[in-house]
């Protein structure tokens, strides 16, 4: 069994296991929604080497687009979600196109600037977005025979989408396109010298990332029945990045781990102590200092330590992992 199918099976196990261990369908749904957003972020950060603070833009827009479509048009849910995906891709293409003109710190600053820009845009146009209050009373209509009103039914709907998206992103990551992104991350100059139009590849990565993030945003708005201003806030970009980094950027399943960990631990900590963000900050410091491969890297080290010595050699190759 190759690594890709193993990771897909692990993702499927997560999707099936969450309802067994969690009491709240809403929280379980959030795990999968953020898992999609973090995986999309990982495509940029881990595969292309782009630290984007703009993921919240696409997430928030996805929320607004699905909400506005369902509130103001008679269109079905599927189409409303599709609009969110398309808008996510289009805006990501624009943001990417402008941001990748600069590299390193300036690229990061540009994505941050766009993030603020879209936040204040949403804040200013209160008539459309609801401003501070958010876009309220977003319905969750049935999809054909599927009744999504109960939170676990909606969870099942999200789980199917999650697995489809996960498989799609895996395909993208292992395609010639994904391999070229890895090459660009490794050595952009050389990638250009051997003939790749690096900017086109980066913009395409942005578009795919934006599409998936927009979808995640749409599913989130449908989950809570609101498209809150916080979904397009700079803090959303930050949370998605933190999940991605905590999970690890080596593969896509790591992002599922990161999102699950972040959502569940945040929920636990917030019931214990109102200043739980402080603890999360401390955790991030630990990851940055000692666990740069994230939770996935930690898991890998544990598995390596438990394996018989004869089989560890294969896992020692950099860029390869035992799983």
């Amino acid at each position: 069994m190759n690594r890709s199918s193993l990771h897909f099976i692990l993702a499927a196990i997560v999707a099936v296991a969450l309802p067994l261990f969690m009491r709240s369908g809403t929280l379980a749904s959030e795990v999968l929604i953020y898992a999609m957003a973090a995986s999309a972020c990982n495509l940029l950060l881990g595969y292309t080497g782009l630290l984007s603070f703009g993921q919240g833009i696409f997430f928030g827009l996805g929320s607004y687009v699905v909400g506005l479509t369902l509130l103001h048009t008679p269109l079905p849910l599927g189409l409303a979600i599709l609009f969110s995906i398309v808008i996510g891709a289009l805006v990501a293409t624009g943001v990417g196109w402008l941001s990748i003109r600069r590299q390193g710190v300036y690229f990061v600053m540009l994505t941050l600037a766009f993030s603020q820009f879209f936040y204040f845009l949403a804040y200013t146009f209160k008539d459309i977005t609801g401003g501070d209050n958010g876009l309220l009373n977003i319905p969750r209509p049935d999809v054909g025979p599927l009744v999504l009103r109960s939170s676990w039914a909606y969870y099942a709907f999200i789980a199917i989408i999650f697995l489809l998206i996960f498989a799609t992103l895996q395909r993208v990551a292992s395609s010639t396109f994904g391999r070229t992104l890895l090459a660009i991350r490794d050595n952009e100059e050389r990638a250009r010298a051997i003939g790749f139009p690096v900017r086109t590849f980066k913009i395409t990565a942005f578009a795919i990332s934006g599409a998936v993030t927009g979808l995640a945003g749409a599913l989130h708005a449908l989950l809570i029945g609101v498209a809150p201003l916080s979904n397009i806030d700079y803090h959303m970009s930050e949370s998605i990045l933190i999940m991605t980094i905590i999970g690890g950027t080596g593969n896509l399943f790591a992002s599922v781990l990161g999102a699950g960990f972040y959502v569940i631990v945040s929920d636990l900590l917030s019931t214990i102590w109102p200043r739980w963000l402080l603890l999360l900050g401390g955790l991030l410091v630990v990851v940055a200092l000692f666990m740069q491969q994230g939770l996935w890297g930690l898991l890998e080290r544990i598995i390596l330590a438990l394996r018989p010595a004869s089989r560890t050699a294969a896992g020692k190759e950099p860029g390869r992992s035992p799983l």
Partner: protein, 257 residues
């Protein structure tokens, strides 16, 4: 042979870095199917010339033509499909990818838009993979095909560096100091490789090792201070009093004879 139209020609080429004129008034004609070397002391503008010819650096003035087509303003990635590929003086590989993947990417670079399809997998018998395997056997690095490039020995990395240019199946191949930092045994093997490449490519290379330059070049261009000092056959260049003066006290290695 002199009647043949050049494959690559530079006409009054100049490159300016701020107020520093790195290259000025360089006129050069590379004849097809020849091995053409560029020599000169450090800082003569050899690498800048390569950067300008491959499009990494845009010429400040002058004109570059490839088979008569003006490519002066094309970016570096757009020159690859036209048949130009290069290697770097400072090894520049995809350190975290395997040797095979490095070469497969280099072969794919000729038709980069095919790689833009996110649904297309890497076919084990695809054209680019086949080319990668051919280049590995030509370079004698098949044994390390599945090793990560960053793990190779210096000599192997230098070979792969040249292989990256070969995998693009160029008509004109530019090698920037292919023997840089190599030990004696590796240098001999590299010399044989360049000579071998000269049979099915036009080769333009920068080299400090006079043994290689004088042995395998058809034409030698000597540069100094951003200009062409002398150009001619190895014999002509060797006996040129200007060249002898330019090189006095400079770091040149190998036998001039």
């Amino acid at each position: 042979m002199s009647a043949q139209a050049p494959i690559l020609a530079a006409d009054k080429l100049a490159v300016r870095y701020g107020s520093f004129l790195a290259l000025s008034d360089v006129t050069l004609a590379i004849k097809p199917n020849t091995i053409h070397s560029v020599i000169g002391p450090n800082g003569a503008g050899k690498t800048t010339l390569f950067h300008a010819l491959t499009g990494r650096v845009q010429a400040s003035s002058g004109r570059i033509t490839l088979n008569g087509r003006d490519i002066t303003h094309l970016s570096d990635d757009k020159r690859v499909p036209l048949g130009i590929a290069r290697s770097f003086q400072v090894t520049s590989l995809f350190q975290n990818l395997t040797v095979r993947e490095n070469l497969r990417l280099a072969a794919q670079g000729r038709t980069p838009l095919q790689a833009l399809a996110p649904w297309r997998g890497v076919e084990p018998d695809g054209e680019a993979t086949v080319i990668a395997d051919q280049v590995m056997s030509r370079l004698g690095i098949t044994a390390v095909a599945d090793r990560v490039a960053g793990e190779l020995s210096h000599g192997q990395q230098r070979r792969l560096e040249v292989g990256m240019a070969v995998a693009a199946k160029p008509r004109l191949i530019l090698l920037d100091e292919p023997t840089s930092g190599m030990g004696i045994d590796d240098i001999e093997a590299m010399k044989a490789l360049i000579r071998d490449l000269g049979r099915d490519h036009t080769v333009l290379f920068i080299e400090h090792n006079m043994g290689i330059v004088m042995n395998i070049s058809d034409t030698v261009t000597v540069m100094r201070a951003g200009r062409v000092l002398v150009e001619g056959s190895p014999m002509v260049v060797r006996d040129d009093p200007e060249v002898r003066r330019a090189y006095l006290g400079n770091m040149m290695t190998g036998d001039i004879a």
